[in-house]
């Protein structure tokens, strides 16, 4: 009796794997964020220093700046985010859940957790400007929701998407500004 049941179970398993493989081949899920354009990093032109009585001072040779290498797969660091902010407005998307968002988030961040996409395009996504870079983050470390939200945003036409892998925890630890809604416990 048990032998027959085990055979049936194996058949069911094999059938599920076969159907799953065909289904995956027909409509594979997008597991990675597609390659993004490199973050726009501004080239600062320092104002020409003035010598006494308006005479131009000798121009100092600028010290070589460390290059801000873009991280593969659309990942950006705090330094890259700051450099991007110097060039143009950067929009933050918080991919954590609502309760975490309510305790504090990156400046002017929009809450867009993965489950908000279940019913289609969330209203919050419509407040984002596709012309400016969007940086998505979650808690940091091992969380994956920022990548999931970035893929979702990519599917609805956003093209300048970056993921801040350090997330909220690293941002806060670095002493960067965070917005804490009134009434939230600090």
């Amino acid at each position: 009796m048990l032998g027959k049941a085990l055979t049936q179970a194996c058949c069911i398993g094999a059938l599920a794997v076969a159907i799953g493989a065909v289904h995956a081949a027909m409509s594979p899920v997008q597991l990675q964020v597609a390659p993004q354009p490199e973050p726009t990093l501004p080239v600062k032109q320092p104002a020409p220093p003035q010598g006494p009585l308006g005479t131009p001072a000798p121009v100092p040779v600028p010290a070589p700046q460390p290059a801000l290498e873009p991280v593969a797969g659309g990942m950006v660091s705090i330094e890259q985010i700051r450099a991007m902010q110097d060039a143009e407005p950067v929009q933050f998307v918080d991919a954590r859940n609502a309760s975490e968002f309510a305790k504090g988030h990156l400046p002017a961040a929009v809450l867009l957790s993965p489950d908000m996409f279940a019913a289609g395009l969330p209203e919050a996504a419509m407040t984002l400007d596709r012309g400016f870079p969007v940086v998505v983050y979650c808690t940091g470390g091992q969380c994956d929701s920022s990548k999931l939200v970035a893929i979702r945003l990519q599917q609805i036409g956003f093209s300048r998407l970056y993921i801040y892998e350090g997330g909220f925890d690293a941002w806060k630890a670095a002493g960067m500004r965070i917005d804490v809604p009134a009434g939230a416990a600090r």
């Binding site: 049936q8 799953g20 279940a118 091992q142």
Partner: protein, 179 residues
Amino acid sequence: MKLTTGVPLILRLVLGGLLVLSGSMKLGVYKHLGITALAMDPLDFAFALGGFKLGLPEMLTQVLTYAVPWGELLCGLLLVAGLWTRGAAIGVIVLMLAFAAGIASLMVRGIDVNCPCFGKLKLFCGDRPLGWCHLIRNTGFALMGVAIVVMGPGMAAVDLMLGRRAAPGSARRPGEPTL
């Protein structure tokens, strides 16, 4: 309704129904149908699989993203119909043990993964990350599967009808397991 035939029927319908719901949600059926409360996308389950940090190759993740919900769906439908009942119940036990092992490994490694198990319904364990509650829930499902294996399909099962047809005039009592 006799206890020995009624209980397996109830177990089959409850466990099978939950599996059909869970599998079809993971496959994105309700998203296509526009049923918001049950809407879910295969991408959500793919990311939950990735959240286990098992280092699976992308191709295997792709196949598992669909094979697991198809497995749930097949087992669920077979349980509800009472066809290949014991085999389907063993399939459920294997699935639940695999889930339990994955959840236990997450707990040991201290990784928080959100459960896409029943989409927005968040049945039984609410919004919390995978942990003790899910472990206990899956163990409960596995025990239901064990009970079905032990007790057989019970009443109103296709297995029963097939058994009767295969052995006309046999002295089998109604509801007696046929496997």
